[in-house]
């Protein structure tokens, strides 16, 4: 955390056109190699924060600093046979696949946009598809996939560029627990190997503690970070981690923080 953060939000607020204030006074930073989870009640502004970090939406107050804004990505068309790295990878809450083309082409898309040829991308795309368990569905069209498979395709697309910062909006919510656990482990393994920064939005307290180096708990609308829990578990996490005392303690802490935040909300909601 000595290194300058990849992204830093200071006192960020967001009010939408019709007057809904989604965020107010959000402070948040993600350093290189950090795995930050965001926990918060439904509608508290997690997706809004993610979209702002990704540069897809502008805050109405406060500032956002992004490390990669200073050093721009290589121009499209540059020789890309060497594994190429885009600063950002993103899994939105919805799968957002191109309906008019195959799963393979959907995962290939970010590379294609950087001018990587199909042949050059093949191994990378196939690897990403295998990672999420979609081998055999390369030629299927999005409408022929189940809900969970669509999300997995979307995860594969985010991973295929080997990003420095990975933004994930509930990527595993539509998956059964076994697949989810497997993907958790796969993701962690990849993270240990590549040490990207990650912001992970989830509703599973267990998942957030298991994966993260830090868990941020947000309050309901207007959202801001109300609690920061540093996860001081060993880097390598296994099934045993889940039964460890520390893990369960951290989970309980996160759960309680969330509960507190929501309790506030429902009293606020009922009084409103």
């Amino acid at each position: 955390m000595a290194a300058p953060p990849l992204v830093e939000l200071a006192n960020v607020g967001k009010t939408y056109q019709h007057g809904a204030t989604a965020l107010a006074g959000l402070d948040l930073h993600i350093g290189a190699g950090e795995f930050v989870s965001l926990l918060g009640p439904s509608g508290c502004g997690k997706s809004t924060a993610l979209r702002m970090i990704a540069g897809l939406s502008q805050p109405t107050s406060g500032t956002i600093r992004r490390a990669w804004d200073a050093s721009p990505a290589p121009a499209a068309g540059t020789d890309c046979r060497v594994p190429w790295s885009h600063p950002l990878g993103c899994v939105f809450q919805e799968p957002t696949l191109l309906p008019w083309t195959s799963v393979w082409n959907n995962v290939y898309l970010p590379l294609r946009l950087r001018g990587v040829s199909q042949a050059a991308a093949k191994s990378q795309v196939d690897e990403a598809l295998t990672l999420v368990g979609l081998q055999g569905f390369e030629q299927a069209y999005p409408r022929e996939l189940s809900g969970g498979m669509k999300m997995r395709a979307s995860v594969a697309r985010a991973l295929v560029t080997r990003p420095q910062l990975l933004l994930l909006d509930e990527p595993f919510a539509a998956l059964d627990e076994i697949t989810r656990l497997r993907l958790n482990d796969d993701l962690l393994a990849l993270w240990r190997e590549r040490r990207w920064g990650a912001m992970f939005i989830t509703h599973s307290v267990f998942e957030s503690v298991y994966l993260s180096t830090r868990v941020l708990v947000m309050s309901p609308r207007p959202g801001r970070v109300v609690e920061e829990i540093v996860i001081d578990l060993a880097d390598v996490r296994t099934a045993e981690t889940r039964t460890s005392v520390r893990y369960n303690e951290l989970c309980r802490r996160a759960s309680q923080a969330l509960e507190r935040a929501i309790a506030e909300a429902s009293t606020a909601g009922r009084s409103a």
């Binding site: 499209a76 939105f92 191109l98 309906p99 008019w100 946009l113 560029t161």
Partner: protein, 264 residues
């Protein structure tokens, strides 16, 4: 679309068509209408065969004008729509001129087009006229279509720093496709009408008269069967084009768009 539904989709209109033609034939025969008022379908068909040596080249001339005008309308309409998609300001600034071009009646501006292009270049003049008639629907529909891309996918392309061209080609163009195709059907029809009307307002190419010349000649000679023969060819062209467009739609949209897929 499976084999069976394909047959139904071709067979049904043919059956309806046959029934209508039979009714027409019967009515004209019973009412004993003279053929300069309304010929029977069989007379029209007989005329098409009898006059084929004159009709065929005229048809080809009109067909050529239509197809080239349609191609130009597609190229220009799509290019302009793409330009409009790049900026809302450009769009609102230029769209009114496209409207002007379309609403100005050809009969009024034809002499100016003739002057501007040169009256010797009759075919080029006709082409320009037919193009003016045909291009607007493509422009209007494609513009609407380019705007209708899913916002989530737009975000995706922004995220990955897609260039304007990539965004256009990989995102906006496929999203606009169903709109474009609906516009194309209209434009194809208009290109055909435009090709005929252009010949009327710019004068026939003396060496290569098209169907307009046939129509006018038959009007002058009260040769109603010949006129219907020419009109039948025009209608046939329109219908064939229509089914070609339907087939193109099916080909391009079948695997993904709501308008074309069957059961989910």
């Amino acid at each position: 679309m499976n084999e069976r539904s394909l047959w139904i989709r071709l067979g049904a209109p043919m059956l309806v068509g046959a029934a209508l033609l039979a009714a027409w034939e019967a009515w004209v025969r019973c009412a004993e209408l003279p053929k300069y008022i309304l010929p029977t379908p069989s007379e029209v068909v007989a005329t098409i065969f009898a006059q084929w040596p004159a009709l065929a080249p005229a048809w080809l001339v009109t067909l050529k004008t239509m197809l080239v005008a349609l191609a130009a309308a597609v190229v220009f309409g799509v290019a302009l729509a793409a330009l409009f998609a790049s900026s809302r300001l450009v769009e609102t600034s230029l769209f009114p001129y496209a409207v002007m071009l379309q609403v100005t009646p050809l009969v009024a501006v034809a002499p100016f087009i003739v002057i501007w292009i040169g009256w010797e270049r009759v075919w080029l003049t006709q082409l320009v006229c037919a193009w003016i008639v045909a291009f607007f629907p493509i422009l209007s529909n494609t513009t609407m279509g380019l705007r209708s891309a899913d916002p989530g996918l737009r975000d995706l392309f922004t995220l990955y720093d897609a260039s304007r061209w990539q965004r256009l080609r990989l995102l906006l163009a496929p999203s606009a496709l169903p709109y474009f195709l609906a516009g194309l059907k209209v434009s194809a029809n208009l290109a055909l009408v435009g090709a005929v009307v252009a010949e009327f307002v710019t004068g026939t190419q003396v060496d290569n008269p098209g169907l307009a010349s046939t129509i006018f000649t038959s009007q002058l000679n009260s040769d109603t069967p010949l006129m219907f023969a020419a009109l039948a060819l025009i209608s046939l062209t329109g219908i064939i084009t229509f089914f070609a467009m339907e087939w193109l739609s099916h080909l391009l949209l079948a695997r993904w768009h709501e308008s074309a897929v069957g059961e989910r």
